[in-house]
């Protein structure tokens, strides 16, 4: 494949760049600029925000995101297998089964280690399983 074959991609890049720059510049030049205090508020009518919306959130969401990745990856591979289901036959089914089992294993491990325990201090298993380990580590 010669370098010339990539020319459409280069043109695409150039067009995207030109479009972005031109539209930003045009709106900057044409648009009227007349700020008043009301216009600079986040909401012209409504409650005045008291704090920065960017704030700390519970670190447990991070575990949920990681669990999401497990299912995400599963879907990616299951889809590829599903469209070729007939051609792959039994070997494919077994391979995907092993793959899915490995993912289930991940989920089971995370689950049993308390990744899905919300509001944990009130849970029975937290007292039984997780708390002793935190104490042990401390």
């Amino acid at each position: 494949m010669a370098l010339v074959d990539y020319l459409p991609i280069a043109i695409m890049f150039a067009l995207a760049l030109v479009f972005a720059v031109v539209s930003l510049l045009l709106s900057r030049l044409i648009a009227p600029h007349d700020p008043t205090p009301e216009k600079l508020e986040p909401y012209e009518c409504g409650i005045v925000p008291l704090q920065d919306p960017v704030q700390r959130f519970p670190v447990r969401f991070y575990l949920v995101a990681m669990l999401f990745v497990i299912f995400d990856i599963e879907i990616v591979f299951l889809f590829a297998w599903a469209v070729q289901f007939e051609a792959l036959g039994w070997p494919g089914t077994i391979a995907v089964g092993v793959f899915t089992l490995l993912l289930v294993e991940t989920l089971v491990y995370a689950w049993r280690r308390g990744a899905l325990d919300w509001n944990i201090p009130h849970r029975e298993r937290y007292r039984r399983v997780v708390a002793p380990e935190i104490e042990e580590a401390a």
Binding site: E105, Y109, R113
Partner: protein
């Protein structure tokens, strides 16, 4: 053609199954550490047995490619498996004190070691660049977590630095894969070999850039200068019980990958990449030796010494195909020396701590004669004194590089070898001639480090005096 043979993948299946079983039993039954040890031991023994079976069936034969040319089962991959799983077994024995000190998280530690072993063997067995990348990531990501397993400040720092720099190196490596693919039109190493053997590229710029990026990416993994900056901090910060496994494993996997990539698909461009490899090799030897002299922590010293050793091994690669035997001999015996040396470090400063200042080795000859003798032997071997594997290894790489015409590189490396003796012998002087500071009692050594030091010492001496069995074996350990 989809040719499936599960012997090619057998070792990986064995250790991965052991890791999965271990984690499931852990969450279901909370067994004692002894149970983890049995599961891991059986998994590693099975993987080792399958590698030996692969050796018997696969050595000396031509391309045995499986899974649509993804994996090779040849003498190279089988010997790689034997080295990797031996190393994993000894590494786990040496660091068992760390496993028990981690309490319940010890199960994760053992499972990660098993998965890293699978990744390292895959690095030796990959016959496709994308497969090699996945293998590299499986091993590397396990290594990042293992470096930070104790979750103290030093270990966190080591793990984060290792992760960030390692991810960067992986990206560089992946870019190299993309450029080599762009130049050859295939990711299969066998396909690239035949394409580059039959075709003369009029403008090889893209391919050469790809080769350069591959060397940089893998050079990082084996801590060759100038890509070595992560090594001292990671070695020092990582808990001592796992540092030996990390150090030796990264070297074995990295050099297996480097040797196969450079001598199989890119063999036709030997004259282009060999000078670059020689320059990196000399830079590593010089930088590693000079900076090791200035260290007062034994783990940092061993880290810089490992940079120098990476340089010595790279010297052999300048000979291409002809240097692979020397690479294998050096990297497999050096890996044993590293695991043995870090077993002593784990015994002296505790398997779960990071730093290990040289001062704490003063008078070790009195506190624990066996550990001192073991560390002394490893230092002598790393220095390249005759009657040890270090000497035979250095002889092999120097001869390969001289045959390839890199006399200047060998002369520089020889001078560095002499300079390196200074810091290796300094440890021995500390252990035997200095009095222990304060009221240092006799060192209590667990069975794990004692066994690990005993096995590695025996191998270092026996193969140093009579290296022929291994050298004969290595004649069959060439890539397809």
């Amino acid at each position: 053609m989809s040719n499936i043979d599960f012997l090619a993948l057998g070792p990986e299946i064995a250790v991965t199954a052991a890791a999965v079983l271990l984690l499931m039993i852990e969450v279901a039954r909370k067994p004692s550490a002894r149970v983890w040890g049995w599961i891991a031991g059986i998994g590693i023994a099975a993987a080792l047995g399958l590698s030996i079976a692969g050796w018997v069936l696969g050595r000396g034969t031509d391309a045995n490619l499986y899974f649509s040319d993804m994996l090779a089962l040849d003498g190279f991959s089988a010997f790689g498996g034997i080295v990797v799983f031996t190393l994993t077994g000894i590494g786990l024995i040496a660091g068992w004190g760390l496993v028990t000190s981690l309490r319940r998280r010890g199960a994760e530690f053992v499972a990660l070691v098993l998965i890293a072993a699978a990744g390292m063997h895959l690095m030796a067995a990959s016959a496709n660049l994308i497969m090699l990348f996945i293998a590299l990531e499986v091993a590397s990501i396990s290594f990042y977590v293992l470096a930070g397993i104790t979750r103290n400040r030093a270990a966190d720092e080591a793990a984060l630095k290792y992760f960030l720099l390692g991810a960067f190196a992986s990206a560089v490596f992946l870019y190299g894969i993309a450029l080599v693919f762009a130049a050859t039109g295939t990711l299969s190493m066998a396909g690239q070999e035949s394409f580059l053997g039959e075709t003369i590229l009029l403008r090889p710029g893209v391919l050469l850039a790809g080769i350069a990026l591959l060397i940089v990416g893998l050079g990082f993994k084996v801590s060759a200068a100038p890509f070595h900056v992560w090594a001292p901090d990671v070695y020092q910060g990582a808990p001592s019980g796992v540092t030996g496994f990390l150090a030796a494993g990264a070297k074995v996997g990295g050099f297996a990958a480097l040797a196969r990539v450079l001598t199989v698909p890119l063999d036709a461009y030997l004259d282009d990449w060999a000078p670059a490899v020689a320059v990196v090799a000399v830079a590593s030897v010089v930088v590693g030796t000079l900076l090791a002299i200035a260290q007062d922590d034994i783990k940092r010293m061993l880290a810089y010494s490992s940079v120098a050793h990476a340089g010595f091994i790279l010297l052999a690669l300048t000979a291409g195909d002809a240097g692979v035997e020397a690479v294998w001999f050096y990297v497999s015996t050096y890996a044993l020396q590293v695991v043995g040396a870090f077993a002593v470090v784990a015994a002296v400063s505790g398997p779960d701590t990071g730093a290990s200042p040289l001062d704490s080795y003063a008078g070790l000859g009195k506190r624990s004669p066996m550990m001192a003798a073991g560390l002394g032997l490893m230092m002598i071997a790393m220095g390249g004194i005759p009657m040890t594997t270090g000497f035979v290894g250095k002889l092999g790489v120097f001869r390969a590089a001289i045959d390839a015409g890199y006399l200047w590189a060998v002369v520089t490396a020889l001078v560095a070898t002499v300079a390196g003796l200074f810091f290796y012998l300094r440890v021995i002087v500390r252990m035997y001639m200095d009095a222990p500071g304060g009221d240092a009692p006799a060192l209590e050594v667990g069975r794990g480090p004692a066994w690990a030091v005993g096995i590695t010492s025996a191998a270092t001496i026996v193969l140093g005096i009579a290296p022929w069995p291994l050298l004969n074996m290595l004649r069959d350990a060439l890539p397809f």
